[in-house]
Symmetry: C2
Subunit: 611 residues, 2 copies
């Protein structure tokens, strides 16, 4: 077998090759340790929100995280403090100035934003945890969760930063002067120098970026690194201030929230989709990695990753929409029941939804529902393929249930188990004396369809009927004498609810006629439960497929209510042919009619489901 | 019938009511006309990318567009000039300063960005079109396309702006000094004053915003207002500089690219989803509408519209994936053909895709394809429900075809007609002596499945077979004498390709046995063409469903190749029962076997398609 390489990998290799030769820029040299980096090092990592890692070049090479630590520590500060407290100490406006500009509000001393050094030091001052050691442990542990592995501090760099960080010390004292830092700035500065000296590699940057893209959950380890509600704030400060005085140009050209550091890393996030990490220590005049900017620019162009380049996405939310004339429940009704339902089949409508339900996708569904409110009695909303539903979509649905209810239409959700926020809202609404909790509890569409059909049938006041033997559909066209012949050999069986009528795996050596009650065909699930796949009301024949092709029973049949069946054994069936061929011919022809009707229903469903 | 109100509308009404009482802020008064606005006016419009307009309050009230004109004229400048020329005259960095700050680069004189007055005047200077009048007509006409209606200039405001615009005149001369404006600044300034004095209303702002959200296509009129490729640049400058020195705070809190104007309008865009327009003329110190900011903040929170709050969206791209053991083509094969195919059914795999194919969604598909490259021979990619496919996705697919081809697997697209960029790429690849253009031409999955099955069968070297009468499946278990009895009454029919065998609407009064050749069942489409729904190879029975339930023929049957059929008329079929009941019973039982096999296939398909 050939090894097959993904074209994504190939493309990254091509891009790496394309920019490898570019040796423009120079190493950061404000501390000697940074100037020791190998200028030829160059790595690219692209990590998807489901944890696929593509990497090329020196992606395992360690370097210190430097300013790329800033947005992550800002996220921790938001977790540790009220938002008002954070905003009181650090603003969120771009300064339009260089990374090491002081940019404090002249009156309040508040740094313009957390991406410049002043704002980042103020942010580090907001991290909770008692002792400096403990606070650092919390910071380090956060980075480890983002990266999905153990990290450590590069002590040489740390000592060098600490020994030479005069400008940052000046900033620290200015912040103390304005009471942005509430106590001695030196421990906060040491914390800040250590945070900047944490060693990471290019692959880590990619995973950290993908964690932000994935609403704070590391897509490789599955561990939450920051509560989802704060991710948009972290990305916002990256988006407006992450690339120093190149931020506007960056959003214009690359179009992803990003952060760079003087050691040569760049981390970029395409929310909901992927994260990118690039490492190349040669910097431009803004302090950004030269190759890093080039690679991100190229990737954005080549893969069309600009966040504002969004195509319309609302329409695919409705995967399928059909009424119960196209797909009915798998309950075979009595003849009268079937006729009554047929008349009102378009009053039950199923919406199969898919993807994410956010405001704009939910709005498409709600608009459709509202427009149908006066013609439809039951709406089944299938959430099986809905990946997420935000609070906004829940509220819209909840209000729509209310509006439809006033118009006389009921909404039934299926597969809602995973959507706790929806269940909570609908439950609260139900409590106000509206409908039972039942409305959100169906686990499949067939059950929901059957429930809605039952409700519709109730309006006809058709009582449960028993069908006399001679009126069973398979005896259509037979003489009284012929029917009596069959009755003579058919076994009479009475069942109580829960009784087994047919056992899976048995030989299919008889045919069943249901004359009273309801029964259902069920298959076992892996979890030990059973799933009802078809149900029958009085008047039906069942077990005919396996009986005809002589296979074994592929499902269990249970009585759902007290039930009465007639059972015709294969021997008797065969013997009928020998002694009463005309009768046998009628019986076979009636069976063919049952098959052709079932086949027509199945073909209607295929046409609907495959549309 | 009750009128049913959408919960979206209700929510907008509630938000309108909530902020109506807030009379904070003051009217712009730098020209007397603006100070005449009614401070109580307050409108909200929300417009979706499919053109649904929700509006509440004073959405028809006219006001001048003012600074909201800036991003739109910037878009026109990008259409009129090379990007390099535009960037040479106006930057894209936020200035961090107020709207009327001059913010020119001290050396080049280049304004920081097109959203401040200096940058906007420079931008207006880039509009092409000869005479000032003609250039203004182009600007006005562009705004009319965005708004979807005729617009005009408020001459009082224009005259007032022109008479009092000393600061802007100063800027104009500074720009002339730096050669950012290449000639007399006065005509450009007049153009700029007129552009700012165009009358719009709140509803217009919503539609204009939705047009940007919809990649430049007005979702109400369907007319393109700006080429899609420039939309991301327009949104980028709005995102980084659209709200003056409140831009960072705005992105942090509201999270949508936006633009405000001193007359009290705010326009916000959620790309791919919706546009918002708010009008309320009371301004805060930044020059932004007080109620406008509040409403956008509330809408963003309530409907969860922050652009960085993106849930993972890549997984729903594969709607269904199945192999040909689950859903096979609708060609009923010869007995040997069917057996051969069964053995290799898992070598044909169908991917039904949906939604937008961009890098991150295409990557999910490509990853799956690459991992299956060594086990699958034919991949069918169904694009029917794919709304858009960007160049990046096309390139990925194109490279994947190549990679799979080297591994011995072929890729077949269905419903690719709408995806011209894909067709172009695959065509180019085919030209390099690879495969025929055929690969992208299937219009439905059934045909593609059949094509792949044919290719697989070719590897078995099974020649087309004719099935002798006595070996037809429906005669299984019959004696030679019985078969001869049927042969005696069956009509022999020969057909040439294209001959009609069964006509739609005819009475279904005979049953057909195909002993040689291939035939297909076709239904007419609304466009006059026919669609093949099932095909049969030699050995099959056909026309049995309508024959059994006595309905009329619901489709046409054509010969696809020279074909030989035996036709058994209903009269003869019935007579067999009278004279040779044992024979009739065997025939009916064999027909039941055909039905049960077809029903089992249909149920497998339902289980797959409904999964």
């Amino acid at each position: 077998m050939q090894s097959v390489k993904s074209p994504v990998e190939t493309t990254l290799e091509e891009i790496h090759e394309q920019f490898r030769a570019n040796a423009a820029g120079r190493l950061a040299d404000y501390i000697p340790e940074l100037a020791k980096a190998d200028p030829s090092h160059f790595g690219i990592a692209l990590v998807t929100v489901d944890g696929q890692i593509y990497e090329v070049g020196d992606t395992a090479q360690s370097f210190t995280i430097q300013s790329i630590s800033k947005p992550f520590v800002y996220g921790l500060a938001l977790e540790d403090n009220s938002r008002a407290d954070v905003l009181a100490k650090v603003g969120v406006e771009p300064s339009g100035e260089a990374f090491n500009s002081i940019s404090l509000d002249p009156r309040s001393g508040r740094p313009m934003n957390p991406m410049i050094n002043a704002g980042a030091i103020a942010t580090t001052g907001l991290i909770q945890g008692g002792s400096a050691e403990n606070r650092f442990e919390r910071i380090l542990s956060m980075f480890e969760t983002y990266a999905g592995r153990e990290l450590s501090v590069d002590m040489d760099i740390y000592r060098s930063e600490s020994a030479t960080g005069h400008r940052n010390r000046a900033i620290g004292h200015m912040l103390r002067n304005f009471e942005i830092l509430g106590s001695d700035p030196n421990p906060v500065l040491e914390l800040y120098f250590r945070q900047c000296s944490i060693s990471v590699n290019c692959r880590d940057l990619g995973v950290m970026a993908a964690t932000l893209a994935n609403m704070g959950r590391n897509p490789v380890t599955g561990v939450q690194a920051i509560r989802g509600e704060y991710v948009e704030s972290v990305l916002s400060v990256m988006g407006s201030c992450g690339m120093y005085d190149y931020a506007g140009e960056w959003i214009y050209r690359v179009g992803m929230p990003a952060k760079s550091g003087v050691s040569g890393g760049i981390l970029a996030v395409l929310p909901g989709q992927l994260g990118i990490g690039v490492y190349s220590p040669l910097l431009d005049d803004h302090g950004n990695s030269v190759r890093g900017i080039e690679v991100c620019n190229k990737l954005s162009l080549h893969f069309n990753l600009h966040i504002f380049n969004a195509v319309q996405s609302v329409h695919s939310v409705i995967r399928l929409k059909y009424d119960s004339s196209q797909v009915a429940s798998n309950r075979k009704r009595t003849r009268r029941g079937a006729a009554n339902l047929k008349e009102k089949a378009n009053q039950i409508v199923v919406y199969e939804l898919q993807g994410e339900l956010v405001f704009s996708t939910a709005e498409v569904v709600v608009r459709d529902l509202v427009s149908a409110a006066n013609t439809v009695r039951y709406v089944i909303i299938d959430l099986k393929r809905v990946l997420t539903m935000d609070q906004s979509a829940c509220l819209l649905f909840s209000k729509t249930i209310e509006v439809l209810s006033h118009a006389g239409a009921a909404v039934v959700f299926t597969h809602a188990a995973a959507h706790k926020n929806l269940r909570r809202i609908v439950k609260a609404w139900n409590k106000n004396g509206n409908t039972g909790e039942r409305w959100v509890q169906f686990e499949d569409n067939n059950e929901a369809l059957e429930f809605c059909e039952d409700q519709l049938l109730a309006s006809f006041e058709t009582p449960a009927e028993a069908v006399p033997f001679e009126e069973l559909e398979v005896f259509e066209g037979m003489t009284h004498a012929e029917i009596e012949l069959i009755r003579g050999v058919a076994k009479n069986c009475d069942y109580m609810p829960g009784d087994i009528i047919v056992r899976m795996g048995d030989a299919a050596d008889s045919l069943f006629f249901l004359s009273a009650g309801s029964i259902s065909v069920q298959i076992p699930l892996q979890n030990g439960n059973y799933k009802r796949i078809v149900s029958f009301d009085a008047g039906s024949v069942f077990g005919e497929v396996a009986f005809v092709d002589g296979s074994t029973r592929s499902a269990m049949v249970y009585a759902d209510t007290p039930a009465h069946c007639f059972e015709l054994a294969r021997d008797d069936f065969d013997r009928l042919g020998e002694n009463h061929p005309a009768l046998k011919i009628k019986l076979l022809q009636n069976l063919l009619l049952v098959f052709s009707s079932n086949l027509r229903k199945a073909n209607r469903e295929i046409a609907t489901l495959g549309q």
